[in-house]
Symmetry: C2
Subunit: 400 residues, 2 copies
């Protein structure tokens, strides 16, 4: 038969990055293309111990249908944790446990966005969330991201002229750019969103991995108007395969979010919610975060030092204060795709910036470099290769 | 702020049954209201052993990002299993692992249904799937279910007049009615769907739990035109908390289904996919099914015997050949809701048939009785109470 698919499916697309990463398993490849935590950093033994004990003590809790809003002890412990670490007010807000950050984006789009509605995103932005938005028929408009967050004039222009329903941002250590939105811009974004009645969808999967500088409060922490939907995840700090993420939003939205979750997959993994709960209540989660910070900050420093040493001076980038990424920029107007393709021929994988654009038929001069997955030696060798290429690329006339 | 939600959210609703089941935990309640396997039937020790070994041998496989289409060894072993048990042809079809049957319904609606499109369902039908369909703005039209499947004239009328995109049926041991669609009607449904270019969404979570009678081939097994999307699950046979379900559909749809799954939650639990894989390849899964059949058929027999003994003769019902449910019917035209409410006052929970209607503002004379969860003594006592009530209800003039 000839299949007539829903219109929204035409907008859905795969991740360019996932295709790129298939190359990463080829022998001799050095990959800066990934975006995941280092497997050696998973707290395997603790997760295995908690799992074994849970199967011994409460197997039927693990294996029966669970509760759509989340495993109750974890809902409580995570609320306490977020009150303490983020200053959230759970007399006004509620928490919903979901199957990873990706489902958080999916359900938020399902909740607020009609086909043809506009979602504003940062330029560049995280491709996984943009794909979730597209899968509900959303129109994306992108707002240029500067060193301290989006350009406010452009954001206001979009709010004023395009009936934006939702503004999606990763407020701290953004993927792919590494940018952290400044406190001043966060407050300005909040005021604009309030004025134009736009929901802010604040994504913060990397915020706890800060290597330097001062923590900046989440927009959600001063959201008295109830317009921020905040999302976090244990994918970067414990393990992505557990698929544990969460949303925090105004209480008035709880009943509808619960119903949507129930209709999507009934509930998220009780086992892995219990693992997260035990981490928060029985183990030294802050100590675990400190270990991760030690592990990744060394790599961030190394990558930055190597880029300093080897990259052509006309390539610009900023040393990251946290997260997993550095974004390097070829001179304004240059397309990074041929550079990335040549680098792959030289066995170094990076992600070309166009993959992170709302309209991926446009070009970008950005190149995303991940430092969480490669080891120190790969960082040194890979950046050297990219550096040599940058000198060839920028000092010689390009072959046509 | 005043929240403006997506239109589809207005159609989404919670399960009436989930609300009812909150009563089930009250002391002294006998519940025939559930729809889950008996926790004592979960193969806890084996699942715990497989889990412990997996964490020892391949923790990083469990904890890293997995593959959106499913854990590859499980995809292969499940294809082999379905080739053997259901006669599916995987040279023409593909398999996608999803997070339980609920996600299978969600993604299928997302794939095929635009807001305002019509989905035909059986009358009565499974409320969880209807809620998933509603959450994409689908209009539901219900087709009366007879003892051997839906009324074909009404089905054709709907196909002819209502631009139906999808026909959803549980072909074997339907929830809530217990009805199995006959081979003859399956073939007629298939021909109608082919003629009117309608996708058949064939749901079969109970098919392996047959207590008597002959297996009837799934419609998918002779789907040469590629119009059947088939869904199954390990929730009834292993454990619902594992959230492992799957779709089988024509290869031409695979790329788009994978992309949708990636955007929804990246991938389903690798751990529990591995548990299912081990069951299919290293353990005696057919033997496990035999044990379940022995366990549940005794309960089905008991409930049927008690209904024979205690129920007023004007209540009609059929002895189930499998699955978890018997549906009893008050005389034509009577509303079962007051009967169910009075039974709850007498400490017996059942589900009123209106909960399973596309338009739940209508009334139904049906009452769903679950026999998988209560024990033998509860079945005896509970049916006796319902039986006594039926005699009062049907022999005396009702108080107004």
């Amino acid at each position: 038969m000839t299949y007539e698919l829903a219109r929204r499916v035409a907008g859905a697309r795969g991740s360019i990055i996932r295709d790129l990463l298939k190359l990463a398993s080829e022998p001799g490849m050095i990959s800066f293309g990934g975006g995941a935590p280092e497997p050696a950093a998973y707290p395997v033994d603790l997760i295995a111990d908690i799992t074994a004990r849970a199967f011994l003590e409460q197997p039927k809790t693990l294996l029966a249908y669970g509760i759509s809003e989340g495993y109750p002890p974890f809902v409580n412990s995570l609320k306490s944790y977020l009150e303490k670490t983020e200053g959230f007010d759970f007399s006004e807000n509620e928490l919903l446990i979901l199957s990873g950050g990706q489902q958080c984006a999916d359900i938020t789009a399902k909740m607020f966005v009609n086909e043809g509605d506009t979602i504003a995103v940062e330029r560049p932005s995280f491709v996984g969330c943009m794909n979730a938005f597209r899968s509900y028929g959303a129109k994306l408009v992108d707002i240029p991201l500067e060193d301290d967050g989006v350009n406010l004039d452009k954001l206001e222009e979009a709010f004023r002229t395009q009936n934006v329903r939702l503004f999606y941002l990763i407020s701290t250590f953004q993927n792919p750019s590494g940018v952290t939105t400044s406190d001043k811009k966060r407050k300005a974004i909040y005021e604009l969103a309030k004025h134009y009645n736009v929901i802010i969808f604040e994504d913060n999967p990397y915020g706890e991995l800060r290597y330097s500088g001062q923590k900046i409060p989440a927009i959600k922490s001063y959201d008295e108007a109830g317009l921020v939907v905040y999302t976090g995840s244990f994918s970067k700090t414990l393990a992505p395969g557990m698929r544990v993420g969460f949303l925090v939003y105004n209480k008035a939205l709880h009943q509808q979010f619960k119903i949507l979750k129930q209709g999507m997959d009934v509930h998220s993994s009780t086992l892995y919610q219990l693992v997260c709960h035990e981490f928060l209540t029985q183990h030294d989660y802050p100590g675990h975060l400190k270990q991760l910070i030690a592990r990744y900050s060394v790599k961030a420093d190394k990558m930055a030092a190597m880029m300093d040493k080897y990259f052509h001076p006309s390539i610009t980038w900023r040393k990251p204060e946290g997260g997993f990424f550095i974004m390097a920029f070829l001179p304004e107007g240059m397309d990074s795709l041929p550079f990335v393709q040549e680098a792959i021929r030289r066995k170094v994988i990076t992600v070309p910036g166009y993959a992170f654009l709302a309209d991926s038929s446009q070009t970008s001069n950005g190149i995303r470099l991940n430092f969480s997955l490669p080891d120190m030696d790969q960082i040194e060798r890979g950046i050297k290769i990219l550096g040599e290429l940058s000198h060839e690329w920028l000092c010689q006339p390009k072959a046509v």
